[in-house]
């Protein structure tokens, strides 16, 4: 099975200052390998016995901010919120994270065709469960 991020975008992340700090104390290889360059919300994809679970790590949002769609084998997770980057900027003494809009797409291939996709948002993690399609045994006649 292949899971490909078909497309994705996110505004420049507020962790930039930390990234710069990190650049001076780490080698480039370490930075490239780290979370700092990964501005998209991180995701785990776990295949269970009868479901495929996608966990998207997005703390600080509310349930209503998310929109999940399944279309032609692509599962799209969208977060739509009012960007609060500039909000009361003078009050922030340190800003290493903020919530912003994002889109992440997963290719489901053989999963999720027909079954009901369930989603829950708890502890800052959006969990999406996609039922696995059971392949029926087919007998092929010899003519």
């Amino acid at each position: 099975m292949n899971l490909i991020n078909a497309y994705s975008f996110l505004p420049i992340h507020a962790q930039l200052s930390d990234s710069i700090d990190a650049l001076f104390s780490r080698s480039a290889a370490e930075v490239v390998d780290s979370d700092l360059v990964n501005a998209l919300p991180r995701a785990n994809v776990i295949e269970k016995e009868d479901v495929l679970r996608i966990d998207v790590v997005a703390p600080g949002y509310s349930k209503e901010d998310f929109e999940i769609t399944v279309d032609e084998g692509l599962l799209t997770v969208r977060a739509k919120i009012e960007e609060n980057i500039g909000e009361e900027s003078s009050n922030w003494k340190r800003r290493e994270f903020f919530n912003s809009c994002f889109t992440r797409v997963f290719r489901l291939e053989k999963y999720g065709r027909g079954g009901e996709v369930k989603a829950a948002y708890e502890k800052g993690i959006l969990s999406i469960e996609i039922p696995k399609m059971k392949e029926k045994a087919r007998s092929i006649e010899i003519s």
């Binding site: 099975m1 899971l3 962790q15 930390d18 990190a22 001076f24 104390s25 780490r26 370490e30 780290s34 979370d35 700092l36 990964n38 991180r42 995701a43 785990n44 994809v45 776990i46 295949e47 269970k48 016995e49 495929l52 679970r53 966990d55 790590v57 997005a58 703390p59 600080g60 949002y61 509310s62 009361e88 009050n91 922030w92 003494k93 340190r94 800003r95 290493e96 994270f97 903020f98 948002y121 708890e122 502890k123 800052g124 993690i125």
Partner: protein, 134 residues
């Protein structure tokens, strides 16, 4: 209030020479700090943590230590992609005298830990004063 973040037993400069793990450990929990008129709000992004896994304490009078402990990962199934692994952490903040150490409260909501640090009366921001010019 001067908040200085540091990993336990590490000075700011010692961090540069510390092993990679320490650095990662420190950067893995992003922190926001907001100053309001009568309090500071400290926010930590800790997705996946429950209230019971978090411990907050004052050490040596002026160090606020926040610990998160992760139980052994009992996730069963096959990982096709793993970009996130919950890890135990410890963050320490040096809290200045302007904070009333008796008036600290914390709450957790959707993976964000919010700690409210009330300012002492004398440290509260006064309203801007207008000075008349004669």
């Amino acid at each position: 209030m001067q908040v200085i973040t540091r990993s336990p037993n590490q000075s700011r400069y010692a961090m540069k020479r510390a092993p990679k793990r320490v650095n990662d450990f420190n950067l893995s929990i992003p922190v926001n700090l907001k100053e309001c008129d009568d309090h500071f709000e400290l926010q930590l992004a800790i997705p996946g943590f429950e209230r019971e896994q978090i411990a907050i304490e004052f050490k040596e009078g002026d160090t606020l230590v926040i610990r998160g402990s992760v139980k052994k990962n009992e996730e069963t199934g096959q990982f096709h992609q793993q970009e996130f692994v919950p890890r135990s952490f410890e963050k320490a903040f040096t809290v200045g005298d302007s904070i009333d150490k008796e008036k600290i409260s914390a709450s957790i909501s959707q993976g964000v830990l919010i700690i409210n640090l009330q300012k002492r009366e004398e440290a509260k921001k006064e309203a801007p004063r207008t000075i008349e010019v004669f």
